[in-house]
Subunit: 191 residues, 2 copies
């Protein structure tokens, strides 16, 4: 019944609007205006701003991220960092993600949704990667996957989404090398 092209237009408008003004200031009327549809079309699909945003970002972020598995941890790491950095450099993503993260700190519904989406996908990627490396003997036995994930994603996120400095050609390599060194150094052991 509901026309699909209209739905798509609304989804795109929501993403753009989220990027431009953030969740806090996102208004249904602005979404309708931007999508070139009537408010009725929106309320026919969702009953809330919150419900609408949650459904849409769940859908967008839920697309599976391929787990790098090149056979070598160093290469896996390079690849993962490239994928993540590419994602974080997309204009829309780099605006929406920090905004929703901040919003999650005060809205449990958003927090829970992001946790589901990010932790179950992206973060599990990191854990899987570390697991593979340990199994292959490339990382020390007791390596703490938790710490490892923070070490891998933290600097990238900080650089790209927070301090927003451009990354030049070999920055990624240097960072990957440093992360590799920190994990192999045998310091991030658990218990």
């Amino acid at each position: 019944m509901l026309r699909n092209d209209i739905t798509v237009a609304i989804r795109n408008a929501v993403m753009s609007e989220l990027a431009e003004v953030g969740y806090g200031r996102l208004s249904i009327e602005a979404v309708a205006r931007r999508a070139g549809v009537g408010k009725t079309a929106i309320y026919r699909r969702w009953s809330n701003k919150l419900e609408m945003v949650l459904e849409i970002i769940t859908d967008v972020a839920g697309r599976k991220v391929p787990v790098p598995d090149t056979g070598s941890f160093a290469d896996d790491l390079d690849l993962l960092m490239m994928i993540v950095s590419r994602a974080l450099q997309h204009r829309v993503a780099s605006q929406i993600i920090p905004d929703l993260m901040a919003e999650a700190a005060r809205n449990p519904q958003i927090a829970e949704t992001l946790q589901r989406v990010l932790r179950l996908h992206q973060q599990s990627v990191g854990e899987k990667l570390v697991g593979q490396a340990i199994a292959r003997g490339e990382l020390p036995e007791g390596t703490d996957a938790d710490v490892a994930v923070d070490l891998i994603l933290g600097p990238l996120y900080w650089r790209l989404a927070v301090s927003r400095q451009p990354i030049d050609g070999d920055y990624l390599e240097k960072l990957a090398a440093a992360v590799l060194g920190s994990l192999r150094g045998g310091s991030a052991k658990s218990k």
Copy 2:
């Protein structure tokens, strides 16, 4: 002329309101309500929501952070991480900082203010610290301070302000050890 107790009440109210609803939804009327003052008292001091917030956060964040200088890079690092993690665990800070960071991505005025405050204080701390360590010969000559700062602050910020997982007793130690290893590993060389 302007009563100081009123000014203080407003400043506190702004911080609380920022933490609760974020910059996007912060309203002058809500601030006045919370501070128990009239809107006139606010407009007598600032002419804008933006101007008000900028002035207040500049003041709050501008308080100098002591640069750790224990004589040993490892101890400096431990200390710095403890200071930063403490700061990021304060409820108000952990809500306001990500919110303003996200807002900075779309408001140049906020971005510039945060850059001034954070980069000139916190970030320079990191660079100074690395500089000391290189001078003492504790880190390789060409260590890239840029990468080092990302490696130090990134994981902490990610953990505390983004993924918001609690840090147990020895997490900080493990993280510090890993960071130390990554820098000493001689990987984060410049050029």
